[in-house]
């Protein structure tokens, strides 16, 4: 069996294969449910109902999607330039730390929110600056450096929560002092549990899309990602483009943590992110790195997580099914993307 390239994939191939991938994912979900001893169709139904079945469920899904949009965008931007930022988790926590540092009384007044958002982005960007400079100057593999920074940041958060940031009223729980009201993101509609972080995420997605398609920087990012040698030959400052990409990517990931603290939680804890940084990679890959696609896939992925939580309570099937579904969806989608470009021939 060999692979043979397809020059011009047909529309049926380009649309049919991803649909097939989704179908395959659902099949695996049902199989998993069967193994767990539940009714497969009922499990699927409960996931859908848990994610979209009520106004509350929908808002919960959108809330969960918010950090995923940010981390998904961070990954999509970086991967587009072939800068493998696996450290969105660390950058997320950098943003969250800044939200606490500036949001617990250091600043006051109406400018707290924009200033702390800006500072959070700078912190996330700074965190990715080291790995990208090591890459461009010394050729150090950024996969390793960004990945390892995740653990360093998590340990730093643990230290901060046990020490300088510890909430004196927290009754021993490892959580930070809560944010002052001016530092909290308001809800979009009064009474509905959806904060402005979600709107900001949508704006960020549109902004990234505009940058990629309409600006010289976006042109450079895409060129460097597709063919760095040709980009260099044409006179593009390849290393500077990589640095700018890293700053943008790190800043976007930091907003995930910042909006979780300022919009949802109101404080920092070490379980702030159940792996949003890593899930962002899945979100970006499923969206084929398209910034607007990231919004859709982030909501889809968030829906599966939220739905699985609800299903787990109702059907007694472990929530791990959500992680397995994510992994299956990613594998099926990667395969589907490959198969739109090549066909398998015998021989």
């Amino acid at each position: 069996m060999r692979l043979e390239a397809i020059a011009n994939p047909s529309a049926a191939r380009r649309l049919g294969l991803p649909a097939l991938a989704i179908a395959a994912t659902m099949l695996v979900a049902m199989l998993l449910a069967l193994i767990a001893g539940a009714n497969p169709l009922a499990v699927l139904g409960q996931i859908a109902k848990g994610a979209l079945g009520s106004k509350l469920a929908i808002l919960e899904t959108l809330n969960r999607a918010t950090p995923l949009i940010f981390t998904g965008l961070a990954v999509a931007v970086a991967f587009r330039a072939r800068l493998w930022n696996i450290g969105a988790e660390a950058q997320l926590y950098a943003g969250a730390i800044i939200a606490v540092v500036l949001g617990t009384g250091a600043l006051g007044g109406p400018l707290v929110l924009p200033l702390s958002a800006l500072a959070a982005m700078l912190a996330g960007a700074a965190l990715l600056l080291g790995p990208v400079l090591l890459k461009t100057r010394l050729g150090v593999d950024e996969v390793v450096t960004t990945l390892l920074l995740n653990f360093i940041m998590l340990l730093l958060v643990g230290y901060l929560l046990e020490g300088p940031m510890k909430d004196p009223m927290g009754m021993g729980w490892p959580k930070s002092t809560p944010l002052i009201p001016e530092a909290r993101l308001p809800r979009i509609v009064d009474g509905l549990r959806l904060h402005w972080g979600f709107a900001l995420a949508i704006i960020a997605a549109v902004a990234v899309w505009v940058i990629q398609t309409r600006t010289t920087l976006g042109f450079e990012i895409r060129a460097v990602g597709q063919n760095p040698e040709a980009a260099r030959f044409a006179g593009m400052p390849v290393n500077a483009v990589l640095v700018k990409t890293a700053l943008l990517s790190g800043g976007l990931a930091a907003l995930a943590g910042w909006s979780e603290v300022a919009g949802l939680k109101g404080h920092l804890s070490s379980d702030l992110s159940p792996g949003f940084g890593y899930t962002g990679i899945i979100v970006a890959m499923l969206a084929l790195l398209h910034p607007l696609g990231v919004v859709v896939t982030a909501i889809f992925v968030a829906g599966i997580f939220v739905g699985s939580d609800a299903m787990s309570r109702a059907a007694g099937v472990p929530t791990y099914i959500a992680d397995m579904l994510m992994a299956t969806a990613l594998l099926c989608m990667v395969l589907a993307i490959l198969l739109t470009r090549v066909r398998v021939v015998r021989g």
């Binding site: 011009n8 309409r214 010289t216 976006g218 597709q226």
Partner: protein
């Protein structure tokens, strides 16, 4: 000499068809190869030569048609079966392990892991080496051999496996004229011993020199099959492109001032590839300077310096009378250096970008954006202008460039390089792999640029091209540059001696 019409047919391709998507790479191609015969497979790039040979050798499966070797049908898609049936292929890019000896390379893959060594492989290699005139030491490390010697190892490898049919894919592309002559001598010995050869080329004079018969492919179809002694180069070229075609000849001009000057330019060696050795070269306005040489002798290093990709480690580069210190591709472009890179696919274009994006790759900042915002409307108009004035055949500016043929891709790159009216032009292998029509077009554009007063540096491994176009010819060998020779003052054989490095020793000693 004329071959016996009644000689046994050793290889027969019967109505082979193969499509890639909408493209018919091979359309009912038939071919018969007789014992002791050299058949040339001639055709422009993209005519389907390589596809056909890949089908024969089992790398691809034909959609229709079959292959017979010595009267036995060959199972499709099985390179091992082709090898076992006595078909040997020498690829354009060698498949040798540099850290092994000649003998080890030849034995590689012929023995089972656990079986005992072939008792007399050395004797067999030495015998073949003698019989076919393939002089190469069996214990030499392949990494230290010249390109010509490596090719001999490849041929020995095929012969060692008892190949009775040899397929050579563009075998002379990397050889000096002298090495090519030696290869032809080997092929004559091989056919005298009853082997049959398929010789893939688009160099007409070679086809005339070595082949008994010539099969011309165009657009995947056989458009002509002629005995070489009953035809001439002009007729073959016409068959290849489907029309009488004369290659442009550049007439000499009075040279203008020096626009770019390299003085004692030195660059570091890169592994086995030599860097430049105190190279001095002047590029004058209104002159095409040809740089001849076997590939891998420093051409790439020189091109990098001129294109702005590298600064010399010693020596100076002077552009328009001012020595440059801050040198980059962008600086080169700003100084009016137009660049046609050696490798269209990796350096010259971005395959998944469309023609518009590729057209503005160099000037997107200066001409097609304002304050960081791209002006795609102007960019598209610019791409359309290049498409129209350089005759780029394509569905439109939204086409991804990797779907274009090499010739059309090169025309877009040419149009991009010429758009800013450069007065120094680096043309590195500008016509390599192009069909005859595209070659004539690209070359005529270089001549037109020269006539407008540009200084053109033409780097090519094809002596015919260098001799036909250049006003001054330099030869590069091991990073050293020969003196400049005026048009017509040197024969190909003389230049060949410089290319082989022999004349340099003489010059050094003197």
């Amino acid at each position: 000499m004329s071959k016996d019409e009644g000689a046994e047919v050793v290889l027969r391709l019967d109505r082979i068809s193969k499509s890639f998507g909408a493209l018919k790479a091979n359309d009912a191609v038939s071919l018969a190869l007789r014992r002791g015969e050299v058949v040339a497979l001639l055709g422009e790039n993209g005519a389907g030569k390589t596809t056909l040979m890949n089908i024969l050798f089992g790398h691809y499966m034909a959609d229709e048609g079959g292959v017979e070797v010595f009267g036995q049908p060959l199972p499709p898609g099985n390179p091992r079966a082709a090898l076992a049936a006595g078909v040997g292929m020498v690829h354009q890019h060698f498949t040798l392990a540099g850290n092994l000896t000649v003998l080890e390379n030849i034995r590689l893959g012929t023995e089972r892991l656990w079986a005992r060594r072939h008792p007399d492989s050395r004797g067999k290699v030495e015998r073949l080496s003698r019989d076919f005139g393939l002089a190469v030491h069996p214990d030499a490390k392949v990494g230290r051999l010249s390109v010509g010697e490596r090719q001999r190892v490849e041929i020995l490898k095929a012969l060692y496996r008892d190949a009775r049919i040899l397929i050579l894919d563009e075998p002379t592309a990397v050889l000096t004229p002298q090495e090519s002559d030696a290869l032809f001598a080997t092929l004559r010995k091989a056919t005298a011993l009853g082997l049959s050869v398929i010789f893939i080329s688009h160099k007409l004079h070679e086809v005339m020199a070595i082949a008994d018969r010539c099969i011309v492919l165009r657009h995947g179809r056989v458009v002509g099959e002629v005995d070489t002694h009953a035809t001439d180069k002009g007729r073959l070229a016409a068959l290849m492109v489907g029309g009488e075609l004369s290659l442009p000849r550049a007439e000499a001009r009075a040279p203008g001032p020096v626009l770019m000057q390299l003085d004692g330019v030195t660059t570091p060696d890169r592994g086995a590839v030599p860097g430049l050795k105190r190279l001095t070269l002047a590029l004058r306005a209104g002159q095409i300077t040809g740089l001849a040489g076997v590939s891998g002798n420093g051409q790439a290093a020189l091109a990098e310096v001129i294109a702005g990709l590298a600064l010399p480690s010693a020596g100076t580069l002077t552009v328009h009378g001012a020595p440059v210190t801050d040198w980059s591709p962008r600086a080169a472009l700003a100084k009016g250096v137009g660049r046609i890179p050696e490798d269209r696919h990796h350096q010259g274009s971005i395959g998944d970008f469309d023609l518009t994006e590729n057209a503005v790759l160099e000037a997107y900042r200066s001409r097609f954006s304002r304050r960081g915002w791209m002006n795609w409307r102007a960019a598209r108009a610019f791409a359309q202008e290049i498409i129209a004035s350089y005759d780029v055949r394509c569905p439109g500016p939204e086409t991804r460039i990797r779907l274009l043929s090499g010739g059309n891709m090169q025309k877009l790159i040419l149009g991009r390089a010429m758009a800013s009216g450069p007065d120094i032009i680096l043309a590195n292998q500008p016509v390599r792999g192009l069909d005859v029509g595209a070659i004539a077009y690209v070359q005529s554009q270089l001549i037109a640029a020269r006539d407008r007063g540009a200084a053109v540096l033409l780097i090519s491994e094809d002596l015919d091209e260098i001799m036909g176009l250049s006003d001054v010819i330099h030869v590069i060998s091991q990073g050293r540059l020969s003196p400049g020779f005026a048009r017509g003052s040197m024969s190909a054989a003389d230049l060949g001696l410089w290319m082989a490095g022999q004349k340099f020793e003489g010059a050094d000693a003197a």
